[in-house]
Symmetry: C3
Subunit: 159 residues, 3 copies
Amino acid sequence: RSGKMAKLTHLVDNEVFRAYATYTTIVLLKMMLMSLITAYFRITRKAFINPEDTASFGKGESAKKYLRTDPDVERVRRGHLNDLENIVPFLGIGLLYALSGPELSTALLHFRIFAGARILHTFAYLIPLPQPSRGLSWAVGYAVTISMAYKVLKTALYL
Amino acid sequence: RSGKMAKLTHLVDNEVFRAYATYTTIVLLKMMLMSLITAYFRITRKAFINPEDTASFGKGESAKKYLRTDPDVERVRRGHLNDLENIVPFLGIGLLYALSGPELSTALLHFRIFAGARILHTFAYLIPLPQPSRGLSWAVGYAVTISMAYKVLKTALYL
Amino acid sequence: RSGKMAKLTHLVDNEVFRAYATYTTIVLLKMMLMSLITAYFRITRKAFINPEDTASFGKGESAKKYLRTDPDVERVRRGHLNDLENIVPFLGIGLLYALSGPELSTALLHFRIFAGARILHTFAYLIPLPQPSRGLSWAVGYAVTISMAYKVLKTALYL
């Protein structure tokens, strides 16, 4: 068994793969943070969507008034969905890219720019910063993913 | 070719990776089940969102009344989105964790608790169970993912 | 380092894995296209959701009227979410399936049908085509994913 383990962990000895592992974990943790921010705004704004979540505020009409949408909650939720839409492609295409044998420096450049762009995107969405801050940070992450997809298809294309 | 195949399938000979494959497939199938439950409620509650889906109920006003939201449908959809938000991080971080050389028993503990927590979360959301059932089952899955992310970053960190 | 790189790129020498890489990249790029289509409809229909996105239309009431939902924008967004719900399982289960040692011809059949079904689903959703076009194309992609999950569990089951 330990022989097979050793082979597996070769993946983690590879610097490009380690960089992929690091930056993927960072952007996924960042995405997970959106859940906590949503919960924070739901609780501080008292804006819930499930009746069972307002039970502690009492019964009947007194609790029902907390079943409402709040602009700050909705904003975080939109940021969270945008993360899903953009980090899922990075997760998949980035893994294939890391396995396609890119130069370490090129791979690091892709991963760092993507992670930076997504972190900026979150700040731009939540503060919010005036446009085109959010649009540009979204576009940079998108372009990095397209660039990695091009390398994957150039290396691995098999239709 | 078969030589390379053999090397590839070493991954599947590895017990940690097999456990990851098993539990990831289980939670992804569970998430896919949410689509069927949504369809079931849309059809039984006659609550659709796309005009072309109500065409079989006739034309004009008689069909239009089925273009509406239904609390049960919306509840399943929220559960589905919550799955996406939590199972996507497990998919990515769990894969990297499985490749980071954890002890088999530790890895199994992580995977089993995560899968159990997400299944409980679905029951808590759909029945619905009183809070904090849903909140706790969500938090347990979240904590397991954080724990795996910590191991990945400790093993592979390369910034 | 190059020795380890060589081992890693064995994955990309494997034809089943190359096919997985190709079709996964294609469906993820297709999913990413939904972001551009959403942006296109938001701009041409002048239907935005974030106040900061309408700042260029002026201040106050003149800009506020563009903060509205539009049926075409909402339709693309639903298609995008449906992609997430179905392509995420393909990403995870498909990877495990590709590593479970399937026949190349069988694997290609799965990947090609899935990609074709998801592309048809997008056309069926956006044009829109009369039902059951969208329902059937969804079901075909769903069935392909279930079939791959069955192979993964048969090969790797470790509970």
